[in-house]
């Protein structure tokens, strides 16, 4: 019998330390390999999350982003090289991820998330990572998260601050917390952003995604993690559902 291809041997080894964790049962590598995670947005959040999920043995990633790589992205969108500037983000990310995990199945959609295409884009995903940079599509994603009951890990970062919030079918959802979020968009052009702080939010998203896929540890659903690198303050806030929430409440 011939030896298995080198990449398959590598894939068996890449999850060895993961499977040694307390609470992780042997055999769960197959569950990771059979999982599909959708990344909505391949910017400062989507880049590091995709890199870690591919490296840790997640079998399939869906990358969704309409944008091209710009030079000012390179400080925090760490899959991209100067030679990628001007090219599609999802295609450039796919090339980088193939080096990391050749057997990871990567599907790309060079499009923006809208109410009309969200079901087609995200159907069949086991979990969704929010890597968006605007409030309006986040609210579309939140409505879909409540309706579909597929878990979504929302993330955000600006300035020195990062946050992550888990939604699974609502009660609570992102709307319970923030309402309509009209005029909520702050611009990184004005506010600035510390590159690794976006990465911190991404690392919390990636850790929680792997925990959810493996079914281990406490769940971040209904909890908001926040970190302020300027004042060195971190919090985990339990969010109660709002019964009158028009998205996930009793009267919807």
């Amino acid at each position: 019998m011939s030896a298995p291809p080198e990449t398959l041997l590598t894939d068996r080894e890449r999850v060895r330390r993961l499977l040694a964790l307390p609470g992780v049962r042997p055999g769960l590598a197959e569950r990771l390999a059979a999982s599909r995670v959708a990344m909505v947005g391949m910017g400062g959040l989507g880049n590091p999350v995709a890199l870690y999920l591919a490296a840790q043995g997640v079998g399939a990633l869906t990358l969704i982003d309409p944008d091209q790589v710009q030079a000012h992205n390179l400080g925090r969108q760490i899959l991209f090289a100067p030679s990628d500037v001007g090219q599609s983000k999802v295609n450039a990310a796919q090339r980088a991820l193939r080096r990391t995990a050749p057997n990871c199945t990567i599907v790309t959609h060079e499009t923006a998330l809208r109410a009309e295409n969200i079901s087609d884009l995200l159907e069949g995903s086991d979990l969704v990572i929010d890597g968006l940079d605007r409030a309006a599509p986040r609210m579309i994603l939140n409505r879909w998260a409540v309706a579909s009951a597929i878990p979504v890990l929302f993330g955000g970062a600006i300035g020195y601050e990062a946050q992550v919030f888990g939604v699974r079918g609502g009660k609570p959802c992102l709307y319970c917390l923030f309402g309509e979020l009209q005029g909520a968009d702050e611009d990184c052009v004005v506010a600035g952003v510390l590159g690794p702080v976006v990465g911190l939010a991404a690392m919390v998203q990636a850790s929680e995604a792997l925990k959810m896929l493996l079914g281990t540890g406490q769940s971040m659903v209904g909890r908001m993690w926040t970190y302020d690198a300027f004042s060195l303050k971190t919090r985990m806030v339990s969010v109660p559902p709002r019964r009158d929430c028009p998205v996930c409440g009793d009267g919807r």
Partner: protein, 67 residues
């Protein structure tokens, strides 16, 4: 002067009778924050009318939207 537990820390704040007053004293915008008082979410429309009491535990979470 009232004593509140704001984001897990004890704060002395003057003239804060409502959630809206407290946000103003702390120079926090009303538009993009979630406020929980003793574990219950306060709708933004109720910030001006929701009364605060001595030792209330208040969590203020600002929406952080970049990515």
């Amino acid at each position: 002067m009232s004593t509140f537990i704001v984001n897990g820390e004890i704060r002395e704040v003057s003239d804060a009778l409502t959630v809206g007053d407290l946000l103003d004293r702390l120079s926090v915008s009303h538009q993009t924050v979630a406020v929980m008082v003793n574990g219950a979410i306060i709708a933004r429309e109720a910030f001006a009318t929701e009364s605060l009491h001595e030792r209330d535990a208040i969590e203020i979470v600002r929406f952080v939207g970049g990515g």
